[in-house]
């Protein structure tokens, strides 16, 4: 088993001290008055033998890992995958690596992930908090950890976060539907107390009530299988024959909804208007194309990484809370 080379091996081969090698490798040769000749010799050897520094040792010594822990709800959900991808790019450009994991919006899993991140000494955290995770976040903050929440926040904790104006967005979307002449508009959302879902429902409710329309709400159980969700939606549609439009509160409900509508052989637009939260390839390309309330994922990821890196730099605590506006993209499914 060929042992992997350490800085000490390099020093030994050149008959110099470890210190010198370290200075040279860290670009401090001049500052520390190492002669250019020595620097050149070291760099050449390092390159020739393919020496790679051990970041574990480095981080242990310096207390910095240059790693950001990112917990998303589900990396196979295109919304989160895209945000993750953008955050990764952004972080990379600024010298940070992202360690990302899916929480499945499960409290226990999230707790475990936070523990793993702590053990690995990540420099900062970006988290889509699952319900019931308040204590763990507070504990992080108490330990001076740098945390930014996203997609949703925890009302009882004063942390930094980046979210979307869920209520305003939903209200805007609903207003559009109503202006198009839809009257019996239903919402399909999740049974959830989390802020993002609550606010989407509030936006729907507010718009409907302002126009004196009757509410028609379907709440789907969290973590239900796709098949069940489809069945639930079919059931909802069948039992509310007067429905003329549906607002889906999140992308996978929208996807399941399309499947349900297809199975029921209902024609979108002429029989039923459709609008969904979150954009998706499917919504863009579906026939008819589906109107959506798209989250500004570039802006979100940029804000997330900026805020977190700011926190890492500053000594004193500060809290930044950003609310971005989702964008209403009108397509065929809401055209009358």
């Amino acid at each position: 088993m060929k042992k992997v080379l350490s800085i000490a091996d390099i020093a030994r081969k050149l008959n110099i001290s470890i210190t010198s090698v370290s200075f040279i490798l860290n670009g401090k040769a001049e500052e520390k008055r190492i002669s250019p000749e020595l620097a050149k010799r070291v760099l050449k050897l390092v390159n020739d033998v393919g020496y790679v520094p051990n970041q574990l040792a480095k981080s242990l010594r310096t207390g910095k890992t240059n790693i950001i822990g990112l917990i998303v709800e589900d990396i196979s959900n295109p919304f989160f995958a895209n945000v993750a991808r953008l955050i990764e790019e952004n972080a990379n450009d600024r010298g940070y690596k992202i360690f990302y994991c899916s929480s499945e919006n499960n409290t226990i899993k999230t707790q475990e992930l936070i523990k793993v991140f702590r053990e690995r000494q990540v420099d900062g955290y970006i988290i889509t908090p699952a319900a019931g995770i308040e204590k763990d976040i507070v504990s992080l903050l108490n330990n001076q950890a740098k945390v930014v929440l996203f997609d949703r926040y925890l009302p009882s904790i004063n942390t930094s976060y980046v979210i979307v104006d869920n209520m305003g967005g939903s209200y805007k979307a609903m207003t559009h539907l109503i202006q198009q002449g839809f009257k019996n508009i239903g919402i399909v959302t999740l049974k959830s107390d989390q802020t993002q879902m609550q606010k989407r429902l509030e936006g729907y409710t507010l718009a409907m009530e302002e126009h004196g329309l009757k509410l028609c709400i379907k709440k789907i159980k969290f973590h239900d299988s796709t098949e069940n969700i489809i069945d639930e939606i079919k059931d909802f549609i069948s039992k509310n024959i007067k429905l003329d439009a549906i607002f889906f509160a999140t992308n996978y409900l929208g996807v399941a909804g399309l499947e349900a509508i297809k199975q029921l052989n209902i024609s979108i637009t002429s029989d039923l208007g459709v609008l969904s939260f979150d954009d998706h390839d499917l919504f863009r390309l579906y026939s008819p194309s589906i109107s959506v309330l798209a989250q500004p994922i570039e802006e979100m990821s940029e804000n997330l990484i900026n805020i977190l890196l700011d926190h890492l730099d500053e000594e004193k605590e500060s809290v930044k809370q950003i609310m971005l506006s989702p964008k209403l993209i009108l397509r065929e499914s809401t055209q009358r």
Copy 2:
């Protein structure tokens, strides 16, 4: 700044040695004859003060990080996102964490990622190799690193890998199209020398030639923007008016293809049969639904993690090369 507690702090508080604390925390209390009473006291304190072990130090000492580096082409591509998700789950159950990154199928980026993984001392690597990465993989292997490739392999290197029978799959898909009566079948693929794309093209060619049909091939430049890809496909279809079916060699070409076809106002199935490599929500739900050659992602991820963990356990080198069969899923788009 509240300092994070170390094992030494725990020992000091109880007036015992670091060694004892370490033994207890690692479940070696009995084996090392630590009295149950002491063990209990330590565990209680650890729990009360919320001590979390420093994995950096642990890994530095033991030489094991329990981290697997995973390089996929693009985490925002549903195929890779799903595989990543499954690998993560599998690895988790077996005590490993996944560190994943997107290579964008770019050689330089991949090299950098491999370097990062080496620096971070990952225990093993799962890589979708970009073109021209042979030297770097060989270098890894020379350093006794444990590596499994997937999605494609490097013919010049004898490594473990998990791939799909691209040629057989394509051949099967083409045979289906031909049996359905399609005669002027085109393929839209990527300009790429990588094995996966080559084999898909070979499968197409073989089937067509066996039936005496004329080839009609469109190769799209790698990393082209979605808009350009759509334009290229529109151009391809317009210039080959006799085409009666198209086989898309990978998911995002298929997605772009649907958009192109939609823009050209061509009716799928009656005017043009469509079949794509890789499954996708969009293909399942599109109207008409699109037939696909789906990769067995559960099986792939299981094999990947199993092979890698086997490698981690065994002393002697061994090479495992697995080829799985993709599954032809027939939908409306190829029904005549």
